[in-house]
C-alpha cells in the first residue's frame, strides 16, 4: 500500500475547475516530483492534500486513512507536513518561536524534541545563528530553510514541498536541492512540486507531469526529465 494515495482528485475555485483529475501515489521513502507549467494545478493539488481547499471529487488517503473530510490541523496530526508556496513563515515571530510552534503536537516529548532540534540546527546552522532574529529579517534562502526545518519538526510522514526554489539565487537553489536529496536519503518521504522541472525530476525517483489540472504523464524521474512532453508542459506550449 502506498503511503500517500490521491485518486481522481478534483478541486474547484469558484466556477473554475482548477484540478480535474489527478491520481498519484507516493511510497514510503520515495521522492516524487510533480511538475508542470504555471497554473497547471500543482499548488492546488498540494493544498487539497493538506485540506486547505475543499475537495470537489476524488479521494486522498494517508496510510490508508481518508483525509478528505478532515481539517488542516487534523491532517498535520496524521502526518502531512506541508511547506506552502511562498514559505509561510510567521514574519513577526523569531526564528526560534517559528520552530517552537511546529512542536505543538509533540510538546510533551522533550527528549525527542531535543534530538530533533539538534538535527535541524546541524542541517541548517544559519538558523541557529539567527535563532533570536525576527523571521521577516531573514533572506529568502534562510526563510526557505526555516520553513523546511519547521516541517521536519512536525515529524510528518510525508513532506509536501511547494516550489522551494522560488525566488532563490541559483547557488541557493542548488543548496536546497542537495538538502532535499540528503533528507530523502535519510528516510524522509517527499512530494515535491516544482516549476523547475529539470532539477526536480533530476533528484526524484518518480515524477508526474500536470497539464490543465490533469496528470498527462508519469514515470521514473530521470526518464521524464528527458522526455519531449515535459519540455512542452514546462514551457506551457
Amino acid at each position: 500500500m502506498p503511503l500517500l494515495e490521491v485518486e481522481g482528485l478534483a478541486v474547484d475555485y469558484g466556477a473554475i475547475r482548477a484540478v480535474r483529475d489527478v491520481s498519484l501515489t507516493v511510497e514510503e521513502g520515495e521522492l516524487v516530483a510533480l511538475v508542470g507549467a504555471n497554473g497547471a494545478g500543482k499548488t492546488t493539488t498540494l493544498r487539497a492534500i493538506s485540506r486547505l481547499v475543499p475537495v470537489a471529487a476524488g479521494s486522498i488517503r494517508l496510510g490508508g486513512r481518508d483525509l478528505t473530510r478532515l481539517r488542516p490541523h487534523e491532517v498535520t496530526t496524521l502526518g502531512i507536513a506541508h511547506v506552502p508556496e511562498g514559505r509561510g513563515i510567521f514574519p513577526s515571530l523569531t526564528v526560534m518561536e517559528n520552530l517552537e510552534l511546529a512542536t505543538w503536537l509533540r510538546r510533551k516529548d522533550q527528549e525527542g524534541l531535543r534530538r530533533d532540534f539538534d538535527r535541524v540546527f546541524s542541517l541548517f546552522p544559519r538558523l541557529w545563528d539567527r535563532r533570536h532574529q525576527v523571521a521577516s529579517t531573514l533572506s529568502g534562502g534562510e526563510q526557505q530553510m526555516l520553513a523546511l526545518a519547521r516541517a521536519l519538526l512536525t515529524r510528518g510522514r510525508v513532506l509536501l514541498l511547494d516550489e522551494p526554489s522560488m525566488g532563490l539565487a541559483p547557488v541557493l537553489v542548488k543548496e536546497i536541492f542537495s538538502i532535499l536529496r540528503e533528507l530523502n536519503r535519510q528516510g524522509t518521504t517527499i512530494l515535491l512540486v516544482e516549476q523547475n522541472a529539470h532539477m526536480a525530476l533530476g533528484i526524484a525517483h518518480r515524477g508526474y507531469v500536470l497539464e490543465a489540472g490533469t496528470v498527462v504523464l508519469s514515470g521514473p524521474g530521470p526518464e521524464l526529465a528527458r522526455s519531449h512532453r515535459v519540455k512542452e508542459a514546462y514551457l506551457g506550449r
Binding site: 509561510g88 510567521f90 514574519p91 518561536e97 510552534l101 511546529a102
Partner: protein, 294 residues
C-alpha cells in the same frame, strides 16, 4: 506636589481599569483583525454578574472576582461561537463582522435592561477600606488593590503572550492562521482562548470599576468601552504593551483634566487626544509605522 501624587494614584487606578478592558480589544484585534464592539458590554455584563454573586450569594471579594471572570469568559466564548464564528467560516467580509459586533453589544445592553431593569444598581462594598497617610498623600487600600490587581493581571497576560507556546500561537494567528493550522494547531481553539482571556480581563475590570464607582446600569459599558477602545488605538492596536500604555494615558488625562479644568471638559479632551495621536502617529504610540511594500 502632594496633590499631584494624589491625582497620579487616581489616574493609575482609572488607567489600570481602562487598560484591562483595552487588552480585550487589542487581543481580539490581534488575532482576528476584528474590532469587537461588544467588548464594552462584556465589561458591563462582568460587573452585573459580580453584582449578583455579591448581592444574592453573598460571596466575598475574591470569590466574586473569580466567579465573574469565569462566567463572563463563558459569555465571551458564547458570543464568539454563536455570532462571529459562523460568519468567519462563511468567509464574510470584515465589515459584516464589525456590524455583528455592534449588534451583539446592543443586544447585551437591551437584554440586561429587559431582565435586570434600567434603574441603577448599587454594587455592595466588598472590602473594608483603610487609608494610609504617606506624607500628605492618602493611599486607600481599595486604590492599592485596584492598581495591584490590574498590574498583576497585565503582567501575567504579558508573560503568557510572550513566553508560552499558546501565546506564540496567538501571535502566529495574527500573522497567518492558515499556516498555523499546518503546524497542527486547531486555530479555532486559539481564537476561543483569546476570547476567554479578553472576557476574563473585562470582568476583572468590571468588578474593580464597581468597587471604585459602585453604580451599575445596563449602559455603563458604552462610554467605558469606547474609552478603552481609544486607549487600545492610542497605544497601538494589536499590541499588549500599547493597550497598557494607552489605558494609563487615557486615565491620566481624565483625572488631571478633571482636577485642573472644569470636569465637563474631561471626555472632550480624551477624545481630542485620540484624534491628535492618530494624526501624528497613525498606528498608535507603540505601533510600527506602516511600510508599504511595492
Amino acid at each position: 506636589m502632594a496633590i499631584f501624587i494624589q491625582q497620579l494614584l487616581n489616574a493609575l487606578q482609572l488607567g489600570g481599569i481602562y487598560a484591562l478592558i483595552a487588552l480585550g480589544y487589542t487581543m481580539v484585534y490581534g488575532v482576528l483583525k476584528l474590532i469587537n464592539f461588544a467588548h464594552g458590554d462584556i465589561f458591563m455584563a462582568g460587573a452585573f454578574i459580580g453584582f449578583f454573586l455579591a448581592t444574592y450569594l453573598k460571596l466575598p471579594f475574591v470569590a466574586t472576582l473569580l466567579g465573574s471572570m469565569v462566567l463572563t469568559a463563558l459569555l465571551g466564548v458564547t458570543v464568539e461561537r454563536v455570532a462571529y464564528r459562523p460568519l468567519r467560516e462563511a468567509g464574510a467580509p470584515r465589515m459584516s463582522l464589525v456590524i455583528t459586533a455592534l449588534g451583539v453589544g446592543l443586544f447585551l445592553e437591551n437584554f440586561t435592561r429587559a431582565t435586570v431593569g434600567a434603574e441603577p444598581r448599587n454594587f455592595p462594598r466588598l472590602l473594608e477600606t483603610a487609608a494610609w497617610d504617606l506624607g500628605g498623600v492618602a493611599l486607600t487600600s481599595l486604590q492599592f488593590l485596584i492598581i495591584g490587581t490590574a498590574l498583576a493581571l497585565m503582567l501575567a497576560l504579558r508573560y503568557l503572550v510572550r513566553h508560552t507556546l499558546v501565546g506564540k500561537a496567538m501571535r502566529a494567528v495574527a500573522d497567518n492562521p492558515e499556516i498555523l493550522g499546518l503546524m497542527g494547531v486547531n486555530v479555532d481553539r486559539i481564537i476561543i482562548f483569546t476570547f476567554v482571556l479578553g472576557s476574563t480581563l473585562a470582568a476583572a475590570g468590571g468588578i474593580l470599576y464597581a468597587q471604585a464607582y459602585p453604580v451599575l446600569d445596563p449602559y455603563m459599558g458604552i462610554v467605558v468601552g469606547w474609552k478603552a477602545f481609544i486607549a487600545a488605538v492610542v497605544g497601538g492596536i494589536g499590541l499588549i504593551d500599547g493597550a497598557m500604555l494607552g489605558g494609563v494615558i487615557l486615565g491620566s488625562t481624565e483625572v488631571f483634566v478633571a482636577a485642573y479644568l472644569p470636569s465637563t471638559y474631561r471626555d472632550g479632551i480624551a477624545f481630542a487626544i485620540l484624534i491628535l495621536v492618530l494624526l501624528l502617529r497613525p498606528t498608535g504610540l507603540l505601533g510600527r509605522p506602516v511600510v508599504k511594500k511595492v
